[in-house]
C-alpha cells in the first residue's frame, strides 16, 4: 500500500482576541490582564492514511475538523509537527470560491476549476461532465448572480466533484440542493471513493458516514479521541442512538 497522508504530532494554536483596538489593548495592559490568550485548535494529532482509504472525520462543532483539513490542504501550516501528502488534494472545501456574481456560469466554471488546481486542458475535457452534473441547462450563459441558491450551489459542487485529484476532501454539508441532487452527489462521491482516491469525509450524519467510510477519526477538542472502524467510531460518539430515527435521512449528508 502507498501512504497517502501522514500527520505526525501536529498542533495548532489560535488566539482568542484578534480584533481589538489599540485602546482596548492599552486598558487590558493597564489592568494587568493578559493581552493574549490562546487555545489549542489541534493538539498532538497523529495518524496515517493509505491511498484509497475512505475516512469519516467526526466530532462536535469546534473540535478542530476544519483546521485539520486546512492543514492537510496546505492552506494553513501547523505550529508544531509535520504533515506529508502524496498527490493533489482538492474537493468540496471551497465550492463556489471565486465565483463572480456578474460572470456567466461557463466563465465561473473555468475560474473555479483553476482555483481547485485544474489546467485549461483538464477543464476543457471535463467541461461537459461538469455542465451535465450541475444541470442548470441554458443558464450556463447567465450571470450566476441571477441563479437560484440551489443552482448556484449545484454549479459549485459540480466543479468540485469533477476535479481530478488524489485526495478528495468533503467538508461541506449539502444544506442546499434538492433531494435528487443530494442523491446524485452521494453517488458521485461513492464513485470517486471506489476509483481509489483517498476520501476525507466530514459529516455529522452517522448514516452517511457508515455508508461512505470504513474508518472513522473522531476529534475531541483538538485531540484524536478515536481512530478505528466506522461502526465503533459512531458508537464512541454516541451518534448511533438516533440512527433509528435517522434512517429515512440516511441519504442526507
Amino acid at each position: 500500500m502507498v501512504t497517502s497522508i501522514e500527520v505526525d504530532d501536529v498542533s495548532k494554536k489560535f488566539s482568542r482576541h484578534y480584533t481589538r483596538t489599540l485602546q482596548q489593548i492599552m486598558v487590558a495592559k493597564a489592568k494587568r490582564k493578559k493581552t493574549r490568550e490562546t487555545f489549542d485548535a489541534l493538539k498532538n494529532v497523529s495518524f496515517t492514511v493509505e491511498q484509497g482509504e475512505a475516512i469519516g472525520l467526526m466530532g462536535l462543532n469546534g473540535s478542530g475538523k476544519s483546521t485539520l483539513l486546512k492543514c492537510i490542504m496546505g492552506v494553513m501550516r501547523p505550529d508544531e509537527g509535520t504533515i506529508r501528502v502524496r498527490g493533489r488534494a482538492s474537493g468540496l472545501i471551497a465550492t463556489g470560491a471565486g465565483f463572480h456574481p456578474q460572470m456567466t456560469g461557463t466563465e465561473n466554471i473555468y475560474m473555479n476549476a483553476a482555483i481547485l488546481g485544474m489546467t485549461a486542458a483538464e477543464t476543457e475535457a471535463k467541461f461537459d461532465d461538469i455542465a451535465a452534473f450541475a444541470d442548470v441547462g441554458e443558464f450556463l450563459d447567465t450571470p450566476v448572480g441571477n441563479y437560484s441558491s440551489g443552482m448556484f450551489a449545484r454549479l459549485g459542487f459540480a466543479v468540485a466533484v469533477n476535479v481530478d485529484c488524489d485526495i478528495f476532501i468533503a467538508d461541506e454539508v449539502l444544506a442546499v440542493g434538492d433531494q435528487p441532487f443530494k442523491k446524485k452527489c452521494m453517488k458521485k462521491m461513492e464513485e470517486v471513493r471506489d476509483s481509489g482516491v483517498t476520501l476525507f469525509y466530514v459529516s455529522h450524519s452517522a448514516g452517511s458516514v457508515r455508508k461512505m467510510c470504513e474508518r472513522v477519526i473522531v476529534l475531541e477538542k483538538g485531540e484524536v479521541g478515536f481512530d478505528g472502524k466506522a461502526g465503533a467510531g459512531i458508537r464512541y460518539l454516541k451518534y448511533d442512538d438516533d440512527e433509528g430515527s435517522d434512517s429515512e435521512n440516511a441519504n442526507d449528508i
Partner: protein
C-alpha cells in the same frame, strides 16, 4: 472494499510533500493560468453591466487630459513650460499605475478572502494580479498620451526616450508589486492599512514634479542639498522624470523655447534633454532606482513569507 480496487494513480513513485509549501513569488509563475483568469476576471468585472464597456478606459483619461489642458494650458497660461498638459499627463499615467496597483494590491487578499482562506494557492498571487490589472488599464492612457503628443505637431520621439519610458515602467512595476505584496499581508493583520495607504496615495501626486516643473524644485532646493537629494530619492519622482523625458520634452520644439524665453525676457527655459530641465545623471539615477525597487520587492517577499502563515486564521 477499496483495497480490491487498483490505485487510481500510480502514486508510489510520487514523493511525499509538505502541503504547506505553497507560497512564494516564484510559485506564482507556476500558476500562470490561474493568474491569467484572475486578471481577465477583474478587467471584465470593472465595466460589467455598463453600456460603454471598455470605452470608459479611454473616456476617463481623455476627459482628464482636456481638464488639464483647459486649466493649465488656457486659464493659468504656464508660460514658462510649453505643453504643460503633456508634462502633467505623462507623469499622471505612471503615478496612477503606481497608486492604483498599490491600493488594489493592499486590499487584494481581503477582497479574495474566500479563495485565500480555503485554497492552497500562493497568496502573493492576489497583489500580483492587482498590479497586472492596473498595468492593463494603463494601456488606454498611454494611447491618449500619444495622441496628445502627436497633436502638438512637434513630437519627435527618440530611442533614448523609449528606453526612458520602459525604464520608468520597470521601476514602477517592481515597486508597486513590492508595495502590494508587503501591504496586502500587513492589511490582513492591521486592517487600518487600507486607509493609511489611501491617504498616502492621495499625497503622492504632489510629491513628484508633474503639477510643477522640475526646474522649480532645482531652483528652490538646489541650495539645500539634503532636501534636494531626498526629493530626488523618491523612485516615483525618477519615474515621472523619465516619462517626461520620453513624451514631454520630445514635443518641445526650438520655436517653443524661443517663444517662452522671449516672452519672459530672460533665459528661463532650456528645452534641451540634459540639465537644467532634468537632474544630472537622469539614467544613472533610473538604474539605481531600478535596483532599489528590486531590493524592495525582495524585502516585501521576505515580510510576506514571515506573515503568510497567519493569514488564514485572521481572515
Amino acid at each position: 472494499m477499496t483495497a480490491t480496487v487498483p490505485p487510481r494513480h500510480d502514486l508510489a513513485q510520487e514523493p511525499m510533500r509538505d502541503p504547506g509549501e505553497t507560497g512564494g513569488l516564484h510559485r506564482v509563475l507556476g500558476h500562470r493560468y490561474l493568474l491569467r483568469l484572475m486578471v481577465r476576471r477583474e478587467i471584465k468585472a470593472r465595466y460589467i453591466g455598463s453600456k460603454f464597456g471598455l470605452a470608459w478606459s479611454y473616456i476617463n483619461p481623455t476627459v482628464r487630459f482636456f481638464t488639464f489642458y483647459f486649466v493649465f494650458g488656457i486659464i493659468l497660461q504656464r508660460g514658462a513650460i510649453p505643453h504643460f498638459a503633456i508634462h502633467l499627463f505623462a507623469g499622471m499615467v505612471i503615478v496612477q499605475f503606481f497608486t492604483e496597483s498599490f491600493n488594489a494590491g493592499t486590499r487584494s487578499i481581503m477582497a479574495n478572502k474566500a479563495v485565500a482562506s480555503k485554497m492552497p494557492v500562493p497568496r502573493e498571487m492576489f497583489p500580483v494580479a492587482s498590479m497586472l490589472v492596473s498595468l492593463y488599464h494603463t494601456g488606454p492612457q498611454l494611447v491618449v498620451l500619444l495622441i496628445a503628443c502627436l497633436a502638438t505637431g512637434s513630437f519627435s520621439p527618440d530611442l533614448v526616450g523609449i528606453g526612458a519610458a520602459l525604464l520608468a515602467f520597470a521601476i514602477v512595476l517592481l515597486l508597486s508589486t513590492g508595495m502590494g505584496v508587503m501591504f496586502s499581508v500587513i492589511n490582513v493583520l492591521f486592517r487600518d492599512f487600507t486607509r493609511i495607504v489611501q491617504t498616502l496615495t492621495q499625497m503622492l501626486p504632489f510629491t513628484v514634479p508633474m503639477m510643477y516643473p522640475y526646474t522649480l524644485v532645482a531652483e528652490r532646493f538646489g541650495g539645500i542639498p539634503t532636501i534636494y537629494h531626498l526629493y530626488l530619492f523618491n523612485p516615483l519622482t525618477e519615474a515621472v522624470l523619465l516619462m517626461q523625458r520620453a513624451f514631454w520634452i520630445t514635443t518641445v520644439s526650438d520655436r517653443d523655447v524661443r517663444e517662452v524665453n522671449e516672452a519672459a525676457g530672460v533665459q528661463v527655459f532650456d528645452g534641451s534633454y540634459g540639465p537644467p530641465n532634468f537632474p544630472n545623471h537622469l539614467f544613472e539615477r533610473g538604474f539605481a532606482m531600478l535596483g532599489v525597487s528590486i531590493l524592495f520587492l525582495l524585502l516585501a517577499q521576505w515580510v510576506f513569507r514571515r506573515l503568510d502563515d497567519r493569514i488564514p486564521e485572521r481572515l
